[in-house]
């Protein structure tokens, strides 16, 4: 039996992380994410798992990377300003291929911005916040059951693909208390990569599309983990052929597995003439608006992206074969709309509903935009 209870969104994240096997948390509290650290600080010691409050966000992610290499499933939680500080270590985790889950409960920015107000303006930061070409996975739940399932999935994907996974959450939902069904353990997948004993020192050597194995480092071998570009041994190498190979290995482990990584939900899309593309809290407004539009005879539908990065390109392209109008609704000045524009073929009409003043869109506002667009 699953349990139906009331939990704050941030606490659902924390509980899901523990359910996914998270046994190491390092973080620095920041509104509106602090309850995650607070809950972990109380619960993890009871479970003989590790909680550390670090001196800042850079150190927090650094600690997670170290613990992850030592075999832990690691989590840190922050908001925009802290996520900015973490970016150099996001790159380190990508480069050294280290699994780690980073929760960003987004607030109004830039800079310290609006700590208690929601925004969906870190979408591009999640993709390109760290420098250099790199693959990234970012998930974005909207409903209480998704907050649980996507948090568990974030750990699974980090563990499977040896890459940082970013979980985006809205201030509104992080702070809200809501009904949620916590599924029974065993009813959802918790992925554990088997630990391999080292056979040779070529720890990064593998075929394109494969993940590096989780290695038990503690057998006296001289293993080198480096943020510099490296060869199969992990030693620094700027040899063009080697660099080319390593770049492709890191990219293809993600891009050859899109079916496993990309998840989205479609509502009323079968015969939709107007598609709303949205995510997080804005998708909840949009869903309410789409339902009302349907009652009024307007053929509207919703495409809710749960995986933001990699972008659900193929699924959207499939929809654009039939639906020729797309309305992107997001709480920023225009970020994911550019991705939608890149995917939408010629002839698809594109419209946006954008705002970044700390006020979520009310369903009536989305409905007005749908009606205007449907004309």
């Amino acid at each position: 039996m699953s349990q139906r209870k009331v939990l704050q969104g941030n606490i659902i994240v924390a509980k899901a992380a523990l359910a996914a096997g998270c046994d190491f948390f390092a973080g620095y509290p920041i509104t509106p994410s602090s309850e995650i650290a607070q809950y972990m600080s109380k619960e993890m010691p009871k479970m003989e798992r590790t909680f550390i409050q670090m001196e800042d966000e850079i150190a927090s992610l650094g600690a997670c990377i170290g613990a992850s290499l030592a075999g832990r499933k690691t989590l840190t939680a922050t908001s925009g300003p802290g996520f900015s500080l973490m970016q150099e270590h996001v790159g380190m985790a990508v480069m050294a291929e280290v699994p780690v889950v980073i929760v960003n409960v987004m607030r109004g920015g830039p800079s310290t911005g609006m700590p208690t107000k929601p925004a969906q303006a870190d979408m591009m930061q999640a993709r390109w916040g760290t420098h250099g070409d790199h693959p990234i996975i970012a998930l974005y739940p909207a409903f209480s059951d998704e907050i649980f399932s996507e948090t568990v999935r974030a750990f699974n994907l980090a563990e499977k693909y040896w890459n940082p996974v970013i979980l985006l959450l809205d201030e509104v939902l992080g702070k809200a208390h809501m009904d949620v069904e916590i599924p029974e353990p065993g009813s959802y997948e918790v992925y554990w990569e088997k630990t391999h004993e080292i056979k040779d020192l070529n720890i990064y050597d593998r075929n394109l599309g494969e993940n590096p194995p989780r290695i038990d480092f503690f057998h006296g071998y001289p293993i080198h983990i480096d943020s510099l570009e490296h060869d199969a041994h992990g030693w620094p190498s700027f040899d063009a052929k080697t660099v080319d190979k390593m770049q492709k290995l890191r990219m293809q482990k993600i891009y050859q597995n899109l079916d496993d990584i990309i998840r989205y939900k479609e509502y009323f899309m079968d015969d939709a003439e107007v598609m709303v593309f949205s995510f997080g809290i804005s998708a909840r407004s949009a869903l309410a608006a789409v339902k009302t539009a349907r009652e009024q005879g307007i053929k509207a539908g919703l495409f809710q992206a749960l995986t933001i990065w990699p972008f659900p390109r193929a699924a959207l392209q499939e929809r654009f074969k039939k639906t020729r109008k797309v309305l992107t609704v997001e709480m920023n000045m225009g970020q994911m709309k550019y991705e939608v524009e890149r995917v939408a073929p010629c002839g698809v009409e594109k419209q946006t509903l954008l705002r970044a003043n700390g006020m979520p869109f009310a369903p009536a506002e989305v409905l007005d935009a749908i009606k205007e667009f449907a004309k």
Partner: protein, 178 residues
């Protein structure tokens, strides 16, 4: 009931986040409804105007903020001025009679002016009990949860040594509305 929308307005520290959380707990865990409580507050949460929206429904809730409010309880002028928008025409409105003095146009609402904060201090003995007093007022005027469930939940929820004063707060709330 398909969907019922409640808004609490106060200044930070008056207990409305707790009131909303209690209401959602009872609605979900004792009455098997769907519910969400979303607080909106400023950086000056202590002493700043605060609102808490609670939606209780028979089905999954899409948008978590109130947009057509059935019941509004407010204990300070500033949040009253800011957050009285989005009330339905027949909304029930409960205002602290000492702390909300400039009402404006209330023709379309059913208004109760009662000394919530003062009665909490005098009758229940401690202003921190405003949360439970507000909950009881909500129960009496809306019946959105049952009295029995409210009483049972408060007895279970109240920290050790505070059960009696919380029960007293329920009485104060019930007696505020004649």
């Amino acid at each position: 009931m398909k969907k019922y929308e409640i808004r609490y307005g106060a200044v930070g520290g008056q207990g409305i986040i707790t009131a909303g959380a209690l209401l959602v707990d009872i609605a979900v865990e004792m009455e098997d409804k769907f519910a969400i409580e979303s607080p909106t507050y400023t950086a000056a949460v202590r002493g700043g105007p605060t609102k808490v929206d609670v939606i209780i429904a028979d089905e999954k809730i899409d948008f978590p903020h109130a947009t057509a409010i059935d019941f509004f309880l407010c204990t300070d002028q500033r949040p009253y001025d800011i957050y009285k928008q989005s009330l339905k025409d027949d909304a029930i409105v409960v205002l602290d009679s000492h702390l909300v003095r400039e009402l404006g146009d209330t023709r379309h609402w059913k208004v109760y002016q009662v000394p919530i904060i003062n009665e909490t201090k005098v009758g229940a003995g401690n202003v921190v009990l405003t949360s439970v007093v507000s909950l009881a007022v909500t129960q009496k005027l809306t019946n959105i949860i049952t009295y029995e469930h409210m009483l049972a939940h408060i007895k279970h929820w109240a920290p050790k040594g505070t059960v009696d004063m919380n029960i007293k707060a329920i009485e104060v709330g019930m007696n505020l509305i004649k």
